[in-house]
């Protein structure tokens, strides 16, 4: 049996039937993790921890039953604090920081039986769309363009998570999504990435980027796995005031349900000028698939879409500039001494943060400054409210929306790197969803002309991940995406 070829759903069945053991599954993945080292997805490997957890899973499974995620080996984005395991957010400033606590989301996963393979790469402090701003160097996408061996980016910021799952070096991974950081890398790597509603998963113990936008979510091989993972990750946490005090529905039950009669909104503003025709064509195929499954499509308008990126690039840096103030060299992480207190701050932060982080801290500080606050931050907050209202209005006439995930397929490492604006455009379809706090999923739906995966995005109403999963599962069935990346670590 090709153990790393199984989905969570399949592995769960095999484990329960005792056809395989958690230890065998862990061994296969630890081997795959080692084979995948050239991708530089993992920053830290924790095989001992994985084996120890697998032993406990096997003990439970032997008795019959077991926990929902018993034996499932996962990769953890290095933005989640993991007790006793270095958590550096891919930044030099946090190098060597070992948290004395476990994030709520990962603690939920371990409590449900999952085991940690290691910590995976990301853009520094999750600021980026290509996993190239990591202080630990870029991660490579396991996919290659047909007839072209140049390494491609895995997207970002959860690029390490996406690459590890796509290369079969993890059965699933955690990601975080502030402006598209789960969905865009999922699209680039041909996997499923789900950003839940803001407040569905606790942010406690996740290194903060932009608090009003950050949301954790699963990155998996298929839609069912995303539902299973989210089930374990989600839930109200009294330690996070913004986590929603709502019960967690049975997400997996939504997978496989008919979408007959559902109304799927197609936002006209997402038809960008100059968008590659293959993306346009993929979107059209998606529309035909949902229609064929008995849903109707509705043309909707999200008028404020064109302001979303600008709004995002004011609010996210503003919050980040404040959230990252704690990295000052005083209590933990990097300290670069100086003659004065100011010099200590300047040396530490100047050397500890990479260029993109510094850029965003500067932008954020600027837009909050006296004299600029009203023109930038306050205006952006107002536009954000209008964007949310756009969605509210549109959802009066539809139950979910269908859009492309990103305006392109994965690009090569080195491309777009000298132009931050071009890089920011990657998030044009995903950012509005964060600003409105809604759930969105990306699923692989086809290949580009040069053989790279392309994703479709389903957007739902707040706290209606069930409909999102239901529609995504139908699209997944129709798309029959079975292409494999050039590099598959687990296929030995």
């Amino acid at each position: 049996m090709n153990l790393t070829g199984l989905t969570i759903g399949q592995a769960r069945d095999q484990l329960r039937r005792k056809a395989i053991t958690a230890r065998e599954l862990a061994e296969a993945y630890i081997k795959a993790m080692e084979t995948a080292r050239p991708l530089k997805a993992y920053l830290i490997e924790t095989p001992d921890r994985a084996f120890a957890a697998a032993k406990q899973s096997d003990a439970r499974l032997q008795k019959g039953g077991g926990l929902p995620l018993d034996g499932v080996p996962i990769a953890v984005k290095d933005l989640f604090c993991t007790e006793g395991v270095e958590t550096a957010a891919a930044s030099k400033i946090l190098a060597g920081f070992v948290p004395p606590y476990e994030s709520t989301v990962t603690a939920n996963l371990w409590r449900n039986g999952a085991l940690m393979l290691g910590k995976v790469n990301l853009d520094e402090f999750a600021m980026g769309s290509a996993t190239i701003t990591s202080a630990r160097g870029p991660t490579e996408n396991p996919w290659r363009r047909r007839g072209d061996n140049r390494p491609l980016v895995p997207g970002g910021s959860s690029g390490g998570s996406a690459a590890a799952v796509a290369a079969r070096a993890a059965l699933a991974a955690t990601g975080t999504d502030t402006g598209g950081s789960i969905r865009q890398p999922a699209s680039f790597c041909g996997i499923v990435g789900l950003k839940p509603t803001y407040g569905r998963c606790s942010r406690w113990g996740i290194v903060a980027f932009a608090s009003s936008l950050d949301q954790a979510g699963p990155m998996t091989r298929d839609v069912r796995d995303a539902a299973i993972m989210l089930q374990a990750m989600a839930g109200h946490d009294p330690k996070d005031a913004t986590s929603a005090p709502l019960p967690v529905p049975n997400f997996e039950a939504a997978v496989g349900q008919s979408i007959k009669g559902l109304r799927i909104g197609i936002p006209k503003e997402y038809r960008l000028d100059g968008m590659p025709t293959e993306i346009e064509a993929l979107w059209q195929r998606g529309i035909e698939w949902v229609k064929a499954a008995g849903a109707t499509t509705v043309d909707i308008s999200l008028k404020m879409t064109k302001y979303a990126l600008a709004t995002y690039y004011i609010i996210a840096p503003a919050e980040a500039s404040s959230n990252l103030a704690r990295y000052d060299g005083v209590r933990f992480g990097l300290r670069v001494p100086g003659e004065t207190l100011e010099a200590l701050y300047e040396n530490t932060r100047g050397q500890g943060f990479g260029a993109e982080v510094r850029r965003r801290v500067l932008i954020g500080t600027y837009v909050l400054s006296a004299g600029y606050y009203d023109a930038y931050y306050l205006k952006a907050q107002k536009v954000r409210a209008l964007i949310a209202r756009d969605f509210d209005d549109a959802f009066k006439s539809c139950d979910a929306m269908l859009t492309p995930t990103a305006p392109s397929a994965a690009f090569a490492i080195g491309e777009k790197m000298d132009d931050p604006i071009a890089m920011y455009l990657n998030d044009v379809f995903t950012v509005p969803v964060n600003l409105a706090g809604l759930p969105g999923i990306s699923l692989p739906a086809g290949l580009s002309a040069d053989g790279l995966p392309l994703g479709l995005q389903v957007i739902g109403k707040a706290f209606d991940e069930e409909t999102v999963l239901r529609v995504a599962a139908v699209l997944e069935d129709s798309a029959k995406f079975d292409a494999v990346p050039a590099f598959v670590a687990g296929a030995a």
Binding site: Y101, K239, S321
Partner: protein, 489 residues
């Protein structure tokens, strides 16, 4: 009462507004579960939230909100049903997150007032601009190492109420009266211990001067003054400094100043140009605070009786004078002790409340002060009711009361036992007193003649002689009466 200060060019008016930081009485900090005890070893009351570790999030302590709302109600203020926590951003080693969570544009409490009872019996109403909740910072210790600064985060995250007054105060005395009254209200409410020495009440003073009725002058802010006496000294000094500066042709520069209590002067700390841009914005980690009007009404109904109301009741129910009532209500414990004392004594004998009040204000306060305890503590641990009852029964005289109170405090005996043991009973036996009077008059024939010739002032001398002869045990009223009769006869 004139508050004007005389300068070379005429009189000046000083305009003062106070910003008080009052530490909320709460077991846990404003946004973390860490303890708040005063005087703990450095860095022993610090959670990962207080130290701003990565991924840590603030969770609002509801009890602190309740304390702030109670305080707002006690200041007769507008309580806002919707308020917001903001981040005030600046870098300092004792501010771990690089921002302080505070309330900027939407505080939990809006406009209110405090009524001051001035020594001359007048009342002054001082406006409260706002009250908001915020976190305290930690403490930078500069004296532990020749070249390093140490940081103690025990205080970091402790809940503070910043209470801002309108610029309604006009003298150092008024500022002192304001702080004493605010302290009393906070203590009555149980929302702040209000000990400036322990640092749980701190005061920033905004001071400016102007010609009476003229437009407001440029103000200076004196930061972190830590006793009422120093607040008054700092204002006094600062007002005179500004007047002298202006009269010598200079101008006051808006700046932050520090008070040097050793030298009694204020010194420039930083000018307006150097002031921070705090980049306030709503804290995205916290939801806005929404209060339920029913909950608010319940808190209001359960509010304890506050000094002003208690004072009015003492005047109305007990017939006390305004100054007596003010003196008693300044500390809730004293007021309670007075009421309990009056009630206990009244059960045994009839006693005018004014007499009890005077005993507490003049005698008990003095003796308690000498022993380093509060009047309330003195009353609760000694047989003060017994002593008062003996006095009302004429067993001891008013002058003997002090001696008895001191005696029972030292011996820990009941008043009755102490009086019996020391044979302190006053002589009310007319026969014995008459004997003493006759003996005394017999020794002073000349003075008796003078008295009878019209030198009536001598009566006091005669009373004194009789009291001396009886070792102070004779009932003075009786001595007086009998003497007059004898001398007339």
């Amino acid at each position: 009462m004139s508050n004007l200060i005389k300068g070379h060019t005429g009189e000046w008016e000083v305009v003062i507004g106070l910003e008080v930081h009052a530490q909320v009485i709460s077991k846990a900090k404003l946004f973390s579960g860490a303890a708040t005890d005063f005087g703990a070893e450095p860095n022993t009351q610090v959670s990962t939230v207080d130290a701003a570790f990565p991924g840590m999030l603030p969770v609002l302590n509801r009890f602190c909100v309740e304390q702030a709302v109670k305080t707002g109600l006690g200041l007769d203020a507008q309580v806002n049903l919707h308020s917001v926590f903001d981040r005030k951003n600046y870098f300092y080693p004792d501010l771990p997150a690089g921002y302080q969570i505070s309330q900027f544009s939407r505080p939990i409490v809006g406009k209110g007032k405090i009524v001051l009872d001035m020594p001359d019996g007048s009342a002054r109403e001082i406006g409260i601009t706002r009250l908001h909740l915020e976190q305290d910072a930690g403490k930078s210790l500069h004296d532990q190492h020749p070249s390093k600064t140490y940081v103690d985060l025990n205080r970091a995250g402790v809940a503070l109420m910043e209470i801002v007054s309108e610029p309604d105060l006009r003298s150092a005395e008024e500022a002192g009266a304001y702080l004493r009254k605010l302290r009393a209200i906070l203590r009555y409410l149980g929302t702040c211990d209000a000990n400036m020495e322990e640092g749980n009440l701190r005061c920033d003073c905004n001071v400016s001067v102007r010609k009476p009725g003229g437009k407001l002058g440029t103000r200076c802010e004196i930061k972190n003054v830590n006793s009422i006496r120093f607040v008054m000294q700092a204002i006094e000094y600062e007002a005179r400094r500004q007047i002298e500066l202006i009269e010598e042709g200079g101008t006051v520069v808006q700046e932050t100043r520090l008070f040097d209590s050793g030298k009694g002067v204020t010194r420039s700390m930083r000018s307006k140009e150097e002031s921070h841009d705090y980049r306030y914005f709503p804290d995205p980690d916290l939801l806005p605070v929404t209060l339920d009007p029913a909950w608010l009404a319940k808190l209001k109904a359960e509010l304890p009786e506050l000094p002003d109301v208690k004072k009015a009741r003492f005047m109305c129910d007990y017939g006390l004078s305004g100054s007596q009532a003010s003196a008693l209500v300044a500390e809730k414990e004293t007021a309670d002790a007075f009421e309990e004392l009056q009630s206990k004594v009244s059960k045994a004998v009839s006693i005018p409340a004014t007499a009890t009040a005077n005993t507490v204000i003049n005698v008990v306060s003095f003796i308690a002060g000498e022993r380093g305890v509060s009047p309330a503590q003195f009353i609760s641990t000694n047989d003060v009711p017994g002593a008062l009852i003996l006095q009302q029964k004429n067993v001891i005289s008013g002058r003997m009361l002090k001696e008895v109170l001191e005696g029972i405090a030292d011996s820990k005996k009941s008043a009755e036992a102490f009086v019996a043991e020391k044979s302190l009973k006053q002589v009310t036996d007319t026969g014995a007193i008459e004997t003493a009077i006759d003996a005394m008059l017999a020794k002073e024939p000349d003075k008796v003649a003078d008295y009878r010739a019209g030198k009536e002032k001598l009566l006091a001398y005669f009373v004194g002689q009789v009291m001396k002869a009886t070792q102070g045990k004779a009932n003075p009223a009786l001595v007086n009466e009998l003497l007059k009769k004898k001398l007339a006869g």
